[in-house]
Amino acid sequence: MTSTAGIETQVAAPGDPAHPARAPRPRGRRSGLAWLWGIVGVAAVVIVWELYKWLAPEDGVIVAGLRILPRTTDLAMPHVWVMVGRLFEPVTRQEGSPPLWGVIALGALTTLGIAAVGWLVGMIVGFAFALLMQRWRLAEWGLLPWIILSQTVPLIAFAPIVKSWGSRIEIGGWEWQDWMSVALIASYLAFFPIAVGALRGLQSPDRIHTELMHTYAAGYWPTLVKLRLPASVPYLLPALRLGAANAVIGAVVAEVSTGLQGGIGRLLIQFAGQASGDPAKAWGPIFGAVALGLVAAGSVALLGVFLKDYRRGEAA
């Protein structure tokens, strides 16, 4: 739920961004209701899944040679209870093998750590770009198109380069670790929404406010600290949330791409390799990855609680 709101940064809202569309409702009841409907929504997906699996032909629904609805074999669509049940069975028959969910949780935590570093780096870089572009319009014109374009480069194409270049970095006793390559790639996905959101945020103060600072003969830094940074919070929060989700996606893909051990990306391909003989096992890390993304985006949303004074502009 939190990250649906997170995508708001992608909204280059035409017109007034803080224009309240509806009368606010009592907050507590509303979020309680939202949770309730959310649970109903998930339940509906489960029911549709099972109903479809029950009713539809094995080979799916094919129209004019194109399969428009999926196959219903156990290979393609395992029963929900089988997928969930599998989580609580051991990973392998080997003695002492931990339950599947434990391995997934561990992998998810590892990835979360890496993604967090990537997110931090992405935030710093994104913010630096935003500051640069806010300060000089020429920088904005010159850089922004490339920042947008950067996201059309398939990151898989340069994952090996990042790993290779990274592995050559050695400064004193400090050596580049493989997980840092993954974090770097994660930061590449995370920085984009943050740069764009922060730029919009830093540019968001009304003219009346910038002119006020001008009449106070306040220079660049006081204006930044007293005005632009606080004003950017409502834009920054969703951007950071989106950045967190992106960082997780980037970390997972980069783990797969660079072959890093220990994270959920590794589990995704390992268990996907076993999907023929044990279809339900492959779904475990998928659920794990989704949960991971939701947790990452959700925890950033918590930031908003601490910054709620800076979000008053949203309601006013």
Binding site: I7, G41, W141, P160, A275, V290
Partner: protein
Amino acid sequence: MTTVRHAPRARWSPAAERRLRVIAPLVVGLLGLALWQFLVTVVGVSDYLLPSPAAILQQLVEFWPAILQATIITGTNALLGLVVGTLLAILLAALAARWRAVDGMSAPIVASLAVVPIVALAPVLNSMFGADSQFGRQAIAALAAFVPVFVNTLRGLRQTRPVHRDLMHVYAASGPQTFRLVTLPTAAPYLMTGIRIASSLAVISALVAEYFGGPRGGLGTFIATSAATSAYARAWAYVAAAIALGLIFYLATALLEWLVLRRIPTGGAR
């Protein structure tokens, strides 16, 4: 207290501004290319791993027909995905805007879709829809496009101004009339923004999905294949085509957005 006159940003005449807006990114791009070529030829970063722009260009020319073919395949997948994803998103957003229950129910699903990595989805979709068709990639592109379009459209559908709603009520207008005359035009700019964001996502998703199974022939396949035998110049030639494809999608949707915004001015009237 300081002598910095920061408030009025440097002012250029509108014409100069328009020119600079084009020139600035070009200069940055050329500088980047020059730096790249410099790293490879002068500093001697191994040409093996990071081919020079010149080498990439040469491969681009040599494999032009194949690259074009691959671009068309990936582009078609992305386009179909974008169109289908957009239509589904509009439909669901309309339902969610109409019924709170649909909104609440779709929230966790949309949120999940927004955070699920392609590498997790691709094998599953290949199993469900068959690895022998492009459908899996199109489905992934559609899912990738779905999220931003849905979120933006839903937002847009809620921007209907109370005064317009009152007006339609006063005219005793029917639900469909209100939707056609007020709700939809109000949401259109938001929808367009969503589509613009979705466009590059659709391209990149369709491409990355090719890494994880399905028919060969697209850009993703050949980036991977070329890289696997260290034909990096060729790989980057395909990457360049991918970037161009993403750019085309982005520009096309930006143009669409501009056209719609021109027909539907949002500012001014209160």
